[in-house]
Every structure is written in structure tokens, then in C-alpha cells.
Symmetry: C2
């Protein structure tokens, strides 16, 4: 699921930066696949719960599994939001040339964060989770520089484009937040603690 | 928790429409209280799980409890996002006079939706849930009219204000989505089914 989410945001970003409409359709399909996968996670979790008598630790793991499934599903929806903006503006390009570079970087960071969140799910390693958190700082920095450009008195691309860029920035930021949330939930499950600044493991 | 979320979005809206900075602080405090309450829900749920041997149906209810706690916590964060925009622009008012009316309506609908979601939690009644869904349609309509005003060629308030209004619209929309998500999760838990157009009970 995390690989699909990574591919979805990568393709959505390509689509946004002048890619084809087929890319937008591909992202919509990945979003739909993630919803199906998430429901499968839920169903299998409940089946496990029904057939076994899990103790508290296992129960936490199962609740975290459902929570992580929901996070990744949401990441797919956010990638699809990006693709839909691209589609709505097609054949025009939603993002002004001058903003290509920040969006390319945000796409790359988001892609990497989804994959790193997947790595944390497999390794359950706090060091992997720390990589996700570092990339999240990078994402926040990119989003801030995006808003600085938007709020520059000289922003020459008009209101419609400013709104697109602002909402797109928000979608990437939320995508990244969910990756952090996955990594934190896994680390919390395994170690029972988190760095203080991120104290909401099921956020 | 739903009452606190309702009060938070109501006060945040007041704050946005020219209210005092104290209101913004009050919203921040409610947001913090909701995070504490959500953690209490999680802790008590896990305690219940540890002391008893719940069967599948009860387990679903406990997973839904954790999910609903997370939704309401997030509603508090979104109300606080609104308050923060108001605070950032203070003593100026973030929303142009002409947009007061749609925001007042969005605030009222959001407030009502949080309370209705709370009613669903108590009554577990599909009719109450339907009221939440109807208000969500109203919210979508309000958000659409907001964007029509923003994309009007004549939008006279500049880029910064357009970005504020667009992001604020998104916060109210997401606040409403979480209320729907709570109502749907409860109805799904109780009846095992949902109207087809809303088929993601744990979304």
C-alpha cells in the first residue's frame, strides 16, 4: 500500500507539471485500489480478532494496522486531489513554470516519505522513523517557501493560480503528515514512546 | 468531545469574523483538551481490552471508539487552524466583509454537524446520521459558492485574502467530513450497512 501511495503521488506530481491526462486516470485508479486494500486490511483484522483471542499487545497492533490502512488510503485520496487539480486545468498547466521546482521537490519528498513509512512498517525501526520525520521537516520548509512566493507582492499569476498552489501545498503537507503518523504509530507500538514533539501516535 | 468540537468551531468562526484574540486562545485550549480526551479514550479502550475478552462485535465497537476519538481530535485541530488564521491577521480581519455571510453559515453548519455527530454516538440512529449527511451537502454547497466568489474575475481583495479564504474553506469542509465519518462509522457498526455513496465507514 505504501508503494502504491508513493507511485500515486509521484504520478500526480508528474501530471501536475505538464503530464498527460492518462496519468491522472492512473492516479484515480491507484486511489481506488488503496480503498479496496484498506477494506481488506480491516476485514482481515476483524477475522483475526474473531478467530483468535488476542492479548493486549496484539490488540494494539491490530488497531494500529487499521489506523495505518486508513492513513495510506487517505494518502491515495490526497494524491488524487493533486491529480484532479491538474486534470481540471488541462491542457493548461495548473502550476506556473517558476513553481515547478518546489513542486518537483515536494513530489520527490512525498514519494520518499511514503516509501520510508513502508520501510518502518517492515523494520519497525526507530531510525527509519527518524528519516520520515526529517523529510517532514523538509516538506514543511518547502511549503513555507511556497507560501512566501505566493504572498510576494509581485506574485504575477493571478488569484486562481494562487489558490491552486495554496491548496496543492496543503495536499502535499497532509500527505507527508500521514506518513509521519504511520511511522510514529509503529514506533510507539514497538517502543512505547515517541520523541516529545510528536506525542500523538494515533494522529 | 463533540460538544467541545462544536464550541471550538463556533468560537473560531466568531474570532474569524472580527472576534477577540482571547477567543483564539480559547480555541487553542479546546484543541488541547480534545487531544487529552482522545488519549483518555485510547487508554480506557486498551484497558477494557486487557481486562476483558471482548468478542468480535465488541472489538469493532472499541476500534470505532478509537477512530471516533481521532476524528473529534482532528476537528479540534481544524477549528484551531481557523483560529490561527484569524490570529495571524489580527487586528485586521482575515475574511472580507462580503464573505462574512458564507463563513457565518459554514460556522453554523459545522457547529450543528459536530453536535449531530454527538447525537448519533448516543442514539446510534440512522435518521440522526442522515441529518449529518444533509448538513454535509449544505457545507459542500457553501464551499462551492465560496470558490465561485474567489474565482470571479472581479475578486477585489487580492491574493493573500484569496489564499486565506480558500484554505479556510478547506478547513470547514474537512471538519464536516470528520462529522460525517463519525456518523457513518456508528451507523455501520450498528446496522452493518451504509448508503452506497458513503461506503468508507472508517474513513
Amino acid at each position: 500500500m505504501t508503494v502504491t501511495a508513493a507511485e500515486a503521488i509521484e504520478r500526480a506530481t508528474g501530471c501536475l507539471l505538464g503530464g498527460s491526462l492518462e496519468s491522472a486516470e492512473a492516479v484515480a485508479a491507484m486511489d481506488a485500489r488503496l480503498s479496496v486494500a484498506r477494506r481488506a486490511v480491516e476485514d482481515q483484522t476483524y477475522e483475526l480478532l474473531a478467530r483468535q483471542s488476542p492479548v493486549a499487545g496484539d490488540l494494539r497492533a491490530l488497531v494500529v494496522a487499521i489506523k495505518v490502512g486508513a492513513d495510506i488510503d487517505r494518502m491515495g485520496s490526497l494524491a488524487n486531489h493533486v491529480a484532479k487539480v491538474a486534470k481540471r486545468r488541462h491542457p493548461a498547466v495548473a502550476v506556473p513554470d517558476q513553481m515547478f521546482d518546489p513542486f518537483r521537490k515536494m513530489g520527490a519528498v512525498a514519494d520518499r516519505m511514503a516509501r520510508s513509512a513502508g520501510a518502518v512498517l517492515l523494520s519497525q525501526d526507530a531510525a527509519d522513523a527518524e528519516r520520515v520525520a526529517l523529510d517532514d521537516d523538509a516538506m514543511d520548509g518547502l511549503r513555507r517557501s511556497l507560501f512566501r512566493a505566493l504572498l510576494d507582492e509581485e506574485w504575477p499569476y493571478g488569484v486562481e493560480s494562487a489558490i491552486d498552489v495554496a491548496l496543492l501545498g496543503r495536499y502535499y503537507e497532509r500527505f507527508a503528515d500521514h506518513a509521519v503518523s504511520i511511522a510514529d504509530a509503529v514506533v510507539y507500538l514497538v517502543t512505547g514512546s515517541l520523541p516529545e514533539e510528536r506525542a500523538e501516535p494515533l494522529g
